[in-house]
Symmetry: C2
Subunit: 399 residues, 2 copies
């Protein structure tokens, strides 16, 4: 296998991506696409759809817990995706004691909230807990949400969720306080509270996946802005009049650096006669290639894929430098599907390009690291926001 590699030179010419005989997969993303299997054999995978009975899958989590996860009683964290719902129960000492997985299903609406509640009940059951022992539940949502009201504006991948009062609906089903936030922001909270960003005062997260999400930690806390939209790094303009973005804009970072942008670029190059192994890996329709397909082609040294990834890394570096000059953070954490699949060599490539960007005063000392929690970021961040509402509730009662 081959890897993306960058030389130490600040004058790396376009196209210069070296290859060595090493896997591009690193420890962080071994489990990027599945729940890690049965460390303790205690499997609890819940399948709730019209056709399948329930199964369960659980494991004891061994990662050392951070202070952000420690608190009174048990909390549940839910990672809501368009395909599956993951739930995990966190003990007072901050470790995961059980997990469950439920399919999101295609029906949408309140049915999804029933399934979220079922996932929490199942995970609690596997851990031998009653719901009354769960003090709070947190969940990330793939779309814009107001954390203060718990109302989801819309979710592109779940039907019937326009202005869905998720917090109140889920809370009434479980009889437990619920906290909700956007999924990327929840992942950023997780990386800051229990992952690669622990201890950072000022941090920016960049999450290239289907789009390019982001999040900002200011003075040790998630920053949400005036109307809870802060962190949309994917929608900063890096090229006036440039490539069209899904949001209707042009030249946005997302239009160059998302998985969607990467496969569009490859599709265009293939249509103009370039060859790539990706067609054999992902099938004729390159537009459907997953991040893992792109990573596989890169690991095989596919020149077209490597060239597109280098271009993408250069644009990401420009975006990171812009944010760095504006916010002068100490740390950038890179995550999301694309970064999870490509791993450390891709992070190194982006870092090298950031170092070439002015100002050296902000881009030079900036630490750039890969997210540490992988697929656990969702449930972990959800558990942290659950801890936060529980603590807030307690301190209000004490006051």
């Amino acid at each position: 296998m081959a890897i993306l590699r960058v030389s130490g030179s600040r004058d790396l010419p376009p196209g210069e991506i070296s290859m060595t005989d090493t896997s591009i997969t690193d420890a962080h993303n071994e489990d990027a696409d599945s729940i890690p299997a049965d460390h303790d054999g205690n499997v609890a995978e819940v399948i709730l759809d019209d056709e399948h009975p329930m199964e369960a899958h659980t494991e004891v989590h061994t990662r050392a817990a951070s202070p952000a996860l420690i608190g009174e009683g048990y909390v549940a964290g839910i990672d809501l995706g368009g395909t599956k719902i993951l739930a995990a129960i966190f003990a007072p000492n901050g470790t995961i004691v059980s997990r469950s997985k439920v399919l999101t299903g295609s029906v949408g609406g309140l049915d999804v909230i029933d399934r979220m509640a079922a996932a929490v009940r199942e995970a609690a059951g596997v851990a031998g807990l009653s719901l009354s022992q769960i003090t709070a539940v947190g969940t990330g949502v793939p779309g814009p949400v107001n954390p203060d009201t718990g109302v989801v504006h819309v979710t592109p991948n779940i039907p019937g969720w326009e202005l869905m009062p998720l917090r109140d609906e889920l809370s009434s089903r479980l009889g437990i306080p619920v906290a909700v936030d956007n999924d990327v922001r929840v992942a950023v909270i997780a990386e800051h509270g229990a992952g690669a960003g622990q201890g950072a005062r000022n941090m920016v997260a960049v999450w290239p996946g289907t789009g390019v999400g982001g999040g900002i930690i200011i003075n040790g806390k998630i920053y949400t802005g005036a109307d809870s939209y802060a962190g949309e790094i994917g929608h900063i303009t890096v090229k006036v009049g440039g490539a069209p973005c899904g949001c209707g804009g042009r030249g946005h970072l997302e239009a160059y650096c998302s998985r969607t942008a990467i496969v569009k670029r490859l599709h265009k190059l293939v249509r103009s006669g370039h060859k790539t192994r990706l067609t054999r890996i992902a099938g004729k329709n390159i537009l459907k290639a997953k991040s893992s397909d792109i990573a596989e082609a890169a690991s095989l040294g596919d020149p077209l894929v490597l060239a597109v990834l280098e271009r993408t890394a250069r644009y990401l570096a420009v975006g990171i430098a812009s944010v760095s000059n504006l916010l002068n953070p100490e740390l950038v954490v890179l995550g999301g599907g694309v970064v999870e699949a490509l791993g450390a060599p891709y992070v190194d490539l982006i870092t090298a390009f950031v170092r070439e960007q002015p100002f050296a005063a902000t881009t030079g000392p900036l630490r750039i690291v890969q997210s540490a929690l992988g697929d656990d970021a969702g449930v972990t961040g959800a558990a942290i926001i659950a801890r936060q509402i529980h603590n807030r509730h307690n301190s209000e009662e004490a006051a």
Copy 2:
């Protein structure tokens, strides 16, 4: 005379700048280039250079004071520029009781600090105060500075100030605690504490002048970042591979929206055969045109100047939208020499272009206003940081 004006349409085509018979000068920048004259006849203008004796100029300030300026005792605020040093004494009730002006001179080094001290002494004298009645002094500096150490990294327009320990040097001359910060950041603190941004929790300031400076207020406080470089909005990239920027980068906002960029663009267009009245107003060398010259040409309806200003406003709007999508502030305050000279019509034009930018969720509700303090921003912000160190000192003594 004519003004820049923008229609209410969101589909304003390029080149659409209307003109009416109204001055482009508004109330905020009447005194943009001079200290307002003798409201009370008590003039105290101090000229300290090798050739001129001292004169003095002072006035009683009538603007209502904000809470940020109110405190125990008198404080002095200094606005240090490459040409002149302005000092003002603020009473406990937050009003300005005297001012003085000293030339910065061309010698540089410690001589400039002697002159800053002289300006404070003179302003105190005019107000009938002894130095012992001044509890703290604040000053803005035209260059990067570390507010924690009070050391100036470098000032492009003052010789011999590399790693100058300004805080300690000025404090030892006056026997008064001194606070220092970057001049744009001081102006932002002023606008937030006592100007157009009063009460804003999350605000971004954009300051197009010789360069494009900026500043960020987060949760009601100035945000400085990991190494005090935060706010360099001029150095976000809006066009990958675009126009060269003074910092060595390419396609930065400053390379399109500073006065320097505006006159460079006009210079290029004139060399390629375009005509403009600016050559008659500012002289053959358009590169030396001041913001007021550009404003005069715009007010006369000069098509070339209007077209370049519209282009500049479009780029500024893209930069503001990027920052808006990233930080979701409630308010953007526009200031700096270019905005001061062009006034409300230019702010309206920029605002109209921002409204055309995605996301509507962040760019739609965003308030965009002109700075309110004009030439007073420097001394006012300096007085606010002086109040802050005095308050901090007092609370430490009480603890």
